[in-house]
Structure formats: structure tokens, C-alpha cells
């Protein structure tokens, strides 16, 4: 019995799927072999899929990624603040997060409320209503002013509060001179990168908020980055405090970084 085009296509689609060569499949294949329209149909299917796969390999613009993760950061801060409020109502003993996290969450609640409300109300409208402008302004600042050069720890703390929404106090370790800070963007997360100088060498302290991370003692990273032929690779020490991943990176001996990390992790 002759097979119709639509049955043959339904039987053999998607063509990349493995299927048993039963009677129906054999009939469908025979139909497609004999039918120019069906052959063309499957050719088009492959062309469309190939074109789309090529598109999917393209990275979303940095602007888009920043906006996504800023929005998620606001949502997370808002959620955290709500959870903290709930914890606070159930009793002071249940509050286990560091005090700065409370301040962080609180500082972002307003931002979260304004930003999210603006987006939810405006939806996809391109109108420049006040709420949307607020979000735009916030994003512009977050992307545009992403570093500060100063040795003043208070200025750096203020900068990071403004950019990240939580309080980070730079380390104060003898021999380590504060040089500045930047907002970094690692693996979809916004974090702080505080720069120091020690004997003319730069030491960088990364702090990346990460929910649920368990406290971990400092240890030297076993990873030796490539691309340092002819000069010493930087030492890397990593550790974690509740909700923050830390790393110290610098072209200084690992033992020296480890001493700094131990001091910082015990603060």
C-alpha cells in the first residue's frame, strides 16, 4: 500500500533519531527515495537546523548577560532579605548569616523592588517610564564604572556596596598596600576583585558570592595556568567563608600568599 507524504515524514522525523527498521520505516524510506518533495522537505529540515545550531554557538552580547545577572542578583537579594526577615521573626538565635549579609540584603531590597516592579509593570514596552529609567541608570553605572583606584579602604567599601550591594572590607595586612578594586564577572556571577601591591608585585583578592558554599581552609591551587612561558606563573590560594568563594592570586611566592590568606580567613 502506498504511503502518503505526511505519514512518511511523520515516520522518519526527526531523521537523526535512531529507529528500528520495521516495515513502516522501510516503507517510509522507500517513499522518500521516490518522492522529490519529501526529499526536499528533509533537506530543508537539515538546513534550518544547521543554521540554527550555528546561531546558538554565538554568545549573547555582554550587555544582555550583565542585565540578566544584575536582575538575578536583585531577585536573590530580595529573596534573601525576605528569608532573613522571616528568620528574625522566629527568633534571634536562628540568624546564622554574617551581619554584612543582612546589610547587603537590606540594601538591595529597595533596588530589587524598584527594578523588578519596573520590569514587571513595563513588561516589553519600550517606553521610558521612570522605573525603567531607574533600572537603566543602575545598569549603566554597574557596567560603566566598574573599577576604582584608591588606597582608601572606606572608599573601596563604599564603591563595592554601591556596585555589588554588599559590604566588603579590604584586608589590612602589614606589607600589603591597597591599590584599588574592580567589579568582576566570573561564571555568570558578579563579584569583587580587590587589588593590592606587595614589594612592587600585584596581589589580587577575588570575592565571589556563592550560595550554599561551605567554609573551607586556604589551600594552594594545583592548577598551573598556561601562557606563562619564560616567567613565573602566579600563585593561587583559594578558600571559602560562608557564602563567599575567595582567591588570592599574585606573582609572589605561594607561602607568602598563604600567610595572607590565613590571616584573611580568620578575620
Amino acid at each position: 500500500m502506498a504511503m502518503t507524504c505526511s505519514t512518511a515524514r511523520e515516520t522518519l522525523w526527526p531523521p537523526e533519531k535512531l529507529r528500528l527498521a520495521g516495515e513502516g520505516v522501510l516503507l517510509a524510506r522507500k517513499h522518500v527515495d521516490d518522492c522529490a518533495d519529501c526529499r526536499e522537505y528533509f533537506r530543508q529540515d537539515r538546513r534550518l537546523l544547521d543554521a540554527y545550531h550555528r546561531l546558538r554557538e554565538e554568545r549573547a552580547p555582554r550587555r544582555v548577560r550583565e542585565r540578566v545577572f544584575d536582575s538575578l542578583a536583585r531577585e536573590r537579594a530580595g529573596s534573601l532579605a525576605r528569608e532573613l526577615n522571616q528568620d528574625a521573626r522566629t527568633g534571634p538565635g536562628s540568624l546564622s548569616l554574617p551581619r554584612w549579609m543582612v546589610a547587603a540584603a537590606a540594601s538591595l531590597v529597595l533596588l530589587s523592588a524598584l527594578g523588578t516592579t519596573a520590569m514587571w509593570v513595563n513588561r516589553l514596552s519600550a517606553g521610558a517610564e521612570a522605573g525603567e529609567l531607574f533600572v537603566d541608570d543602575y545598569l549603566r553605572r554597574a557596567v560603566g564604572q566598574d573599577n576604582i583606584l584608591t588606597s582608601d579602604p572606606d572608599q573601596i567599601s563604599r564603591f563595592l556596596v554601591k556596585e555589588l550591594g554588599f559590604l566588603i572590607t579590604p584586608m589590612q595586612v602589614e606589607g600589603l598596600r591597597l591599590a584599588g578594586a574592580e567589579v568582576c564577572f566570573l561564571d555568570g556571577r558578579r563579584g569583587a576583585m580587590i587589588r593590592y601591591q606587595q614589594n612592587g608585585r600585584e596581589v589580587t583578592h577575588y570575592l565571589i558570592p556563592r550560595e550554599g558554599v561551605e567554609e573551607r581552609a586556604p589551600r594552594q591551587s594545583g592548577i598551573l595556568p598556561g601562557g606563562f612561558e619564560g616567567r613565573a606563573a602566579p600563585s593561587v590560594i583559594t578558600w571559602a567563608t560562608p557564602s563567599i568563594e575567595h582567591a588570592l592570586v599574585g606573582e609572589v611566592p605561594a607561602e607568602r600568599l598563604m600567610r595572607i590568606a590565613r590571616k584573611a580567613s580568620s578575620l
Binding site: P14, Y41, Y52, R56, E58, V64, R67, L124
Partner: protein, 168 residues
Amino acid sequence: MSHTFEELAGSEVDGLFQGALFLQAGDEAAAEDLLVWTLTKAFHGFRETGGGESPDQWLEGRLVHEFLALLPNSSAAPQVHTADLNRRLQRVGSVDPGVLHKAAGQVPARARAALWLVVLRRWTYDEASAALHTNTEELKDLLRFRHTLMSAVLMPRNALNGTDGGMS
């Protein structure tokens, strides 16, 4: 292995943005809004469900859900034209990825969502029907716009309405 939502979003954001561009017919600003809106809402859903067994597919479903939820009612049920059902298909050399999103604009929004899920993302009919809150028969009707998409890809300046027999 459990992931935070940010990790999931970070690994999927590129593909989702391309999906949003297709759904929004190449309108970058609208695609960006759709993506941010979807991920912001999905953030809360993820806290409750963890994204199920296939969080990446769950996110794609959320993208379509939010896209359809934002459509005006008049776009919810596109009329399927049958005049060109018997049109013979042209031979296709290759498809320029650059015109694919724009070409999607020639297809009604709901059909665009069906084409994205089934033809481009290879969802099964059952999965796509569930995501579109429809049945297989309506899904097949929507998929007939594949020919319109193909025609627009090949002749981007012509606004064609024809559909082919699809798989139905």
C-alpha cells in the same frame, strides 16, 4: 549535581537569547526583555522545583510560556492558510543564519513558538503540545508554517503566507 540558578542561567543564556531572538523575530530589544523577564520569573520557579529532570529544557519551556503569555489575545490562535499547500518546494542550498530570525517574523507568533520547539529544538510533539497548552492536531497545524518560514528565509523581502503539508 545541583546547580544554582545563576549557574544554570549562565550555561543557557546564549542559547536562550537566540531562542528569544527567533521568537521575537529578530527584534533585539524585545528579545532581551523577554529573556530577562523569563529568567527573573524562572528564578523563583527554580527555587521551588529545581527545574525538574531537565533544567535546560525547563528553561526553554519557560521562555515559550512567557512569550505566549505576553502576546495580545488576537495573536493567540493564528489562522492557517491552506492556499499554497500544494506549492512545490524549491531546492534549498543553504540557509543564512543571519536571516533566520528576521524570517521568523513572517510566521504568526504561536506558530513561531511551535517551530522553535519542534523544528529547531527537536522537542517531541507531546512535549511541545504541553508547552503550548494545545493538542497534537493544533500543533501540526502550527507546524505547517514551516514552509512560510522557509520561503521567508529564501526570499526575505517577500511576505509569503503559504504553508505546506508539513507532517500532517
